[in-house]
């Protein structure tokens, strides 16, 4: 297994080993191993139905993998995510977004960002007691939480829509809000499931910039499922290609672009024929 893309000898932030997940007769993820380094963007690509979302669901506790180990290396030692209950995984530092946006549609934009800070605020409110009594301990924490939310609102340009119901936002705004909400939970690893889906080219550009700034300024690691090869090739350090649940290639964007197996996966068996131009573009060969 190659871990050459990871700098230094420190263990990678996320280490997935021999992950398998079966649905009835379908092996959705087949003995998958990969790593995601700190302060890096790791992309997972592959055709529809390749098992990318299933991998996310295993990492974030929505499915329990049949086989395999998912280790998150934190300052306080390794955490084995496959053994944790779903909500504890967020507390351990892994937060995700969803392929079909899942906002709290009837709550305001600001409230969405406050819910993400639930655990921190809950502790500050002494499980509601300090909050009910209106102690300044809680009021201070709430003010800080609103300030953090405002910082993200500013950043995703939704400041003047802070009091809108989240469900009323435009599609692109909802996507960005979901990312901001995940960031308000202060993750070490952010898993994004097709964040550019349905965005126009200009919005995709802005998204690329946002994701890069999350890596460079916030110093978190990103795990990115994405079909938009422009985005993937531009921002990721490391790419993992899945097909029928198996890893068929992995490496830097440059290496993936010219990998024969990848091209075959995207085009079926006769990958030897010259590719039509729009497909070439789609796999990032220009």
């Amino acid at each position: 297994m190659s871990a050459a893309h990871l700098s230094g000898g420190a263990p990678p932030l996320l280490n997935v080993e021999h992950l398998s997940m079966r649905f009835g007769g379908l092996l959705a993820v087949d003995d998958l191993s990969f790593q995601a380094g700190a302060r890096e963007i790791t992309a997972i690509i592959g055709p529809n139905g390749a098992g990318k979302t299933t991998v996310f669901n295993c990492i974030t506790g929505f499915y329990r993998p049949d086989v395999g180990r998912v280790t998150l290396n934190t300052d306080r030692g390794p955490r084995y995510l496959e053994r944790l209950e779903g909500f504890r995984i967020a507390r351990a530092g892994v937060v995700r977004t969803f392929q079909n946006i899942r906002l709290f549609a009837n709550m305001s934009v600001l409230e969405n960002l406050l819910v993400a800070q639930h655990n921190h605020l809950m502790r500050a409110s002494l499980f509601s007691i300090a909050g009910l009594l209106g102690w300044c301990r809680y009021r201070r924490a709430e003010k800080a939480a609103v300030a953090l939310a405002c910082r993200w609102l500013e950043r995703i340009g939704l400041m003047d829509k802070a009091d809108w119901d989240a469900g009323r936002l435009a599609y692109g705004d909802q996507r960005r809000l979901e990312i901001a909400r995940a960031m308000c939970a202060q993750p070490k690893l952010l898993c994004l499931d097709e964040p550019a889906a349905g965005l126009n080219p200009r919005e995709s550009m802005a998204l690329s910039e946002l994701l890069q700034s999350l890596r460079d300024e916030e110093g978190i690691a990103l795990l990115l499922i994405e079909h938009d090869m422009g985005v993937v090739m531009q921002i990721s350090q490391h790419i993992i290609v899945l097909d029928y649940g198996r890893k068929i290639a992995e490496g830097s964007p440059r290496a993936i672009r010219s990998d024969a197996a990848v091209i075959r996966a995207y085009l079926g068996e006769n990958g030897t024929q010259p590719l039509p131009p729009e497909v070439m573009e789609d796999v990032g060969q220009s």
Binding site: F104, S108, V115, H118, D163, R181
Partner: protein
Amino acid sequence: MSFSHRPINPADLFKDAALAALMALILALPLIGFRSVAEGGQLALTTRFDWVGIGVAGVFLGRLVLVYASSFWPPSGANFALAEAVREGMSRYVMALAGMGLLLALLLPFLPFSSRYVIDVATGLLIYIMLGWGLNIVVGLAGLLDLGYVAFYAMGAYSYALLALQFDLSFWICLPLAGLFAGLLGIVLGFPVLRLRGDYLAIVTLGFGEIIRIILLNWYEITGGPDGLSGIPRPSFFGLPFKPTTGEHEISAFHQAFGLEFSGLHRVIFLYYLILCLALITNFFTLRLRKLPLGRAWEALREDEIASRSLGINPRNTKLTAFGIGATFGGLAGAFFATRQGFISPESFTFVESATILAIVVLGGMGSQIGVVVAAALLILLPEFGRELEEFRMLVFGAAMVLIMAWRPRGLLANREPTLRLHRRDRRGGEPR
């Protein structure tokens, strides 16, 4: 402002109305058309086909008007701003309504028109308002459809009665204990069922409600079975009972302490203020919790459990707190019910009670505190004032429910106000606070 109008084919319109009239005819013929009357010790059948005719014609015309009017609805995009303005205006109107309601409630016993009957009805209404507010935590905020809420009401009532009868504890000790026991029951019942969602949860809680009632009915040694428990001690005014005592030397009753003539009304008024306090505590507690992380987590779970979990909210514990707190308030209301009636039996805790309380919450607009008050007033007072209508009372009541749900399917006051605003309520966005 122009309303968009979907044109409808007149033939379709008439066909639709005729169909409705036919349905009405089929229903009305046996229900209204024939009537049994006693004629000299015998039953005879008379007919009232004229009534049927009037009813069917009414349905036909009503349906025509309804369908025609509904072709102007819903408002198209151009009318969105109007809907917004109505929304804004309404929430201001609602605040004024709440203030006036509170003032009325505080002064009610001293208003000129108030009598023992009025205070009694108001007390009964306040019990339902409190129950509605309690259930609103579970259903409106946490989104858990609980059809067995009456179990906690019963638990509170029986806990209070048994504690007071067996251990001779005073009202002010029994009341919190009854709430505590009901809350514990809520948590115990909650554990196994909270993994279920939606309809499944509703069915299981319905079952639990019935199980509790059947236990009460059959555990004769403790609960008195169908005979219930009687002689439940009445509350005292912090140790001073409401009794027509005439001790000369020591003060031993409420009216003596305040130098009043004894009157049976004192207790009625005291009970009224007691339930008003309990209900207001429920309300303020809920309003406050809603703005805390716990309350937001309830609402987040209602909106999307999967997303909540992915953000680190523990769904089980969070739902349990909602269940437990809702049950506690139900229990407190039950304790009050027991002390007010002096007698309780399983008859008072049937599924109909659960359904009424749930109807109050749903009709009011899920999660809306003022909506609960309005809906409770409608549901409890309408049948009360409708007594002159005699046999048509429930018909009018049902029609009112149908109309309200057709007019406002999400409840009377379904507007949700954010728990925290960044900008002041202002049309143009406004300045950050």
